[in-house]
Symmetry: C2
Subunit: 532 residues, 2 copies
């Protein structure tokens, strides 16, 4: 399937969690997200992909800065607007599929050569009164095709109808489902409620046999169930048997090789492209980052992985002080510091020796771009130190020695204790620290996942402080969402809106109850009159 000129070969470059704008306040790392995203777009051009598919969190912030918006627009305009012919078409109802109502390459006022399809993630999810995402801004400009945005109403299990985008190139047909991020608890409940999630299938018609489609899903959710979320999340088993491939966004660790989906059905695969920029200093983020090229011909498909060459080197390590040989003495702070300094120096050498492949050729217009060699980039270094039986040493002072040699001198060391790695819950200081990290990845095996921790905690706190029956008018679920949006997304009206909506609902319910009571009374009176 290597002939890009094959009229039946559909090639889609896949990437996710590009987090444009992350670290924009960091002198050293401010360009990292843009450099990696530019490399993804360059790869799409080089591999002659028909389209790009993104799995959400294109933006790190729900309200991206002006600079981030401007750079995102510049990059997309540079690579996606050109005279290259688009060799596939959309055969489904575009007004149902796309937020903008039509696919961008059919806009007669825009010259799209590389169409980008994207869902939203949890970072750039729809918020505020108009339920708009940062992706809506790009969608209105016609630079991306935003799909998989499902309007949610009411509370509880959301009713979701997945209408696929039907794509056709020659005799190859792709049925693409998009599911932009919805809070795990809510979406999990939908999947567990029979009939709540509807998967629309292409209707069989002359020339379109029902089994003639390769069925893809792109979603942006937590993948691994964990204690805090319990059953309340999407599980692989929930996904329908007819799916051929699920592209799983949100999880930042790159696992570029497709694996079989759990549950019934054969030849069902899942692939986890991972983020293109490390948003947290976790072990998962330190794995090599890739973009994937999906090639589909007829019912056959395969994935090719391309290691991103512009990504800042990141070496993650772990050490338990009490296991070091020859042994360290807990009271010998100097010795411990010397040992850790040596360990970090060794990691820096490893970062340099990782010897990444040569940079991409410069883009045709000669502008500065993603092709900066990673060798010129200071590495990220993260060392998890189990200091059981020891005390910590001054991380700040140790970091000072590495200014100019690593990208993150101020937070190279992560202090943990053996015991704390088994604790799950409050009072665990490591987990509390991890809660400030990135959603979708944890600090190694035994730790709680930060996002989950946050979400369950807000609701738990509300329940804990107000009592389970105290909230009769305000739904604690929506209050939790509102509080989350207020704190995390800077949505100043979230709480007011939540309260007003609840009051309105209560008022209506009270009115309805009153009317029902009056009707009942009238009926009773009438019955009594008849009886009399």
């Amino acid at each position: 399937m290597s002939d890009a000129g094959d009229p039946n070969l559909f090639r889609i470059l896949i990437s996710t969690d590009n987090h444009l704008g992350v670290w924009e306040k960091d002198e050293t790392r401010r360009d990292d997200s843009f450099r990696a995203f530019e490399e993804v777009l360059q790869l799409a051009v080089e591999t002659r992909a028909d389209a790009v598919l993104l799995g959400g969190d294109l933006f790190h912030e729900n309200k991206p800065s002006r600079a981030t918006l401007v750079k995102a627009i510049q990059l997309l305009a540079k690579y996606c607007l050109n005279d290259r012919p688009v060799r596939f078409r959309v055969v489904s109802d575009q007004s149902v599929n796309f937020v903008a109502g039509r696919v961008n390459f059919e806009n007669p006022n825009l010259n799209v050569g590389l169409p980008v399809f994207t869902i939203h993630g949890n970072h750039d999810d729809p918020a505020g009164q108009d339920s708009l995402s940062a992706v809506d801004i790009l969608s209105q400009t016609g630079l991306v095709n935003y799909f998989g945005k499902h309007p949610l109403t009411g509370t509880g299990a959301a009713r979701i109808t997945l209408s696929p985008v039907l794509l056709e190139k020659g005799s190859t047909r792709i049925c693409l489902y998009g599911l932009g991020n919805i809070r795990d608890e809510r979406l999990g409940r939908s999947f567990q409620t029979p009939g709540c999630v509807q998967w629309q299938r292409p209707a069989p018609s002359p020339g379109y046999p029902p089994d003639g489609w390769v069925n893809l899903l792109v979603l942006h959710q937590n993948r691994v169930a964990h204690s805090a979320l319990g059953k309340a999340c999407v599980r692989e088993e929930h996904l329908p048997a007819f799916l051929d491939l699920a592209v799983w966004g949100h999880e930042h660790e790159c696992r570029p090789d497709p694996v079989s989906l759990k549950g019934e059905g054969e030849a069902r695969y899942v692939v986890q492209p991972g983020s293109t920029v490390a948003t947290a200093l976790s072990e998962g983020e330190s794995r090599p980052k890739h973009a994937l090229l999906l090639e589909v011909r007829g019912a056959q498909f395969r994935l090719q992985k391309f290691r991103l060459r512009s990504v800042r080197p990141f070496v993650f390590g772990g050490v338990a002080l009490r296991e070091v040989r020859p042994p360290l003495l807990p009271e010998d702070t100097e010795g411990v510091t010397r040992f850790l300094t040596g360990k970090i120096q060794e990691m820096i050498s490893r970062a340099a020796a990782a010897n990444p492949p040569p940079p991409l050729p410069a883009p045709s217009d000669g502008s500065p771009s993603a092709s900066a060699s990673p060798a010129s980039l200071l590495p990220l270094i993260r060392l998890r130190v189990d200091y059981t039986g020891f005390s910590t040493v001054n991380s700040q002072r140790l970091g000072q020695r590495f200014v100019g040699r690593v990208a993150n001198p101020q937070d190279m060391l992560l202090w943990t204790k053996a015991a704390s790695r088994k604790l799950k819950g409050e009072g665990d200081s490591s987990s509390a620290a991890a809660a400030y990290g990135e959603a979708g990845d944890g600090e190694g095996g035994g730790f709680l996942r930060p996002d989950a921790l946050d979400q369950s905690r807000i609701e738990d706190l509300i329940r804990q402080h107000l009592g389970s029956n105290a909230l009769e008018v305000l739904p604690d679920d929506e209050l939790a969402v509102a509080l989350h949006n207020f704190v995390e997304k800077d949505d100043k009206n979230a709480l007011v809106q939540c309260i007003e909506a609840a009051l309105e609902e209560t008022r209506n319910a009270a009115l309805a109850a009153q009317l029902a009571a009056e009707e009942a009374a009238e009926a009773a009176a009438a019955a009594a009159a008849v009886a009399g």
Copy 2:
């Protein structure tokens, strides 16, 4: 000059201070700015204008909400992207003129039928580390041509070179200067410093005689000097004698008829289009709002005014309680309330009777748009009550009676005292209240202008609290700007950046001084050696 098909007739629709997004949190007024801006764009299409020229403050906020950005993009895409041929060209260096490096209708990937040219105002001025404006986002998408952005460095009088955009349609040539908002004090100082402001002129060349151009300037500054700013602002006398017409943005009162510019030079005119939406309940904002059509043929030009028909009615009035006949009694609160209620009712009737011209025809695609009849819009009512010798009555309670009948029941009354109207400065409660209003317009004759008040106050406060000589490292001027950006523009890094820049400058100066001292010492030693 009425034949729009005339190949030498250049037609430019002019509007300014559209303040997209103002009142977006107000249930009643949230669409006002968009409705008016859409009417402006419709007018441009109807009058077959070659281009639109905006005078700044297209956005009300420096960080517009997602909803405002999306709506702005939708409107511009709807009216500006189409197959209509552009019948003029840009003959100056586009990379010098435009922030995006080229005019949008020469972008081969975009189908521009109605080019929009705009400068920035004080609301959407460049801010933050990258010195980006909200207009930059639109400029990158190619929906507007952003010009008149002058990079400012250092402190004090800024050196500004005005490179005009040279436009040519048939034999008609327009030399268009743009000057995006710069703080009045700073710009005023530049104009007063000889050689600081350079006006580049088109070089005479074969076929282009030097006097063959109509010279336009669009700027966005305070127009009337007032006590608080003193001499530190742009005066009409500063503008060069060769200008034919200055389009003055920032001032919200619409004065659609051109008047002669003060100062030397003949046939120099200034026109003040005013805002398209009332951002403050001031007398100036209550005047009828217009867009202007500039028609240029050869060296001749004229302006036509078009009253905007989608603008919410606004009636402004004033009354002095002690002058009412038959007299009111200060202790008769009921009587005063009755009188004011009657007055407001009369103003509401006047708003209805204003009987604006019929709405515009619906746009061709039948979508809902600017053509909502103003008759269906609740009016804005503002009554300035001089209560000298009386006490105020409960405005809230009085406002309650007009809910559903006026757009602003909560702030219809503005309480003033005769004495306070002569006071200028602190301790004047009316002025303090006015300071929360819109820049560029005052609450009638005797009042201080809010913007000016704010700016001078911040600096005054800094000087007052720190003493005039206390700030040796931190320049109080820049500190004032940083504070302003921090408070007004939600720029969280403004203060940190200001301080870091100042420290850097001081460090460099100290270093330079030390080097100079060392060199001097060496020279002295060498001289001593020679002498010895």
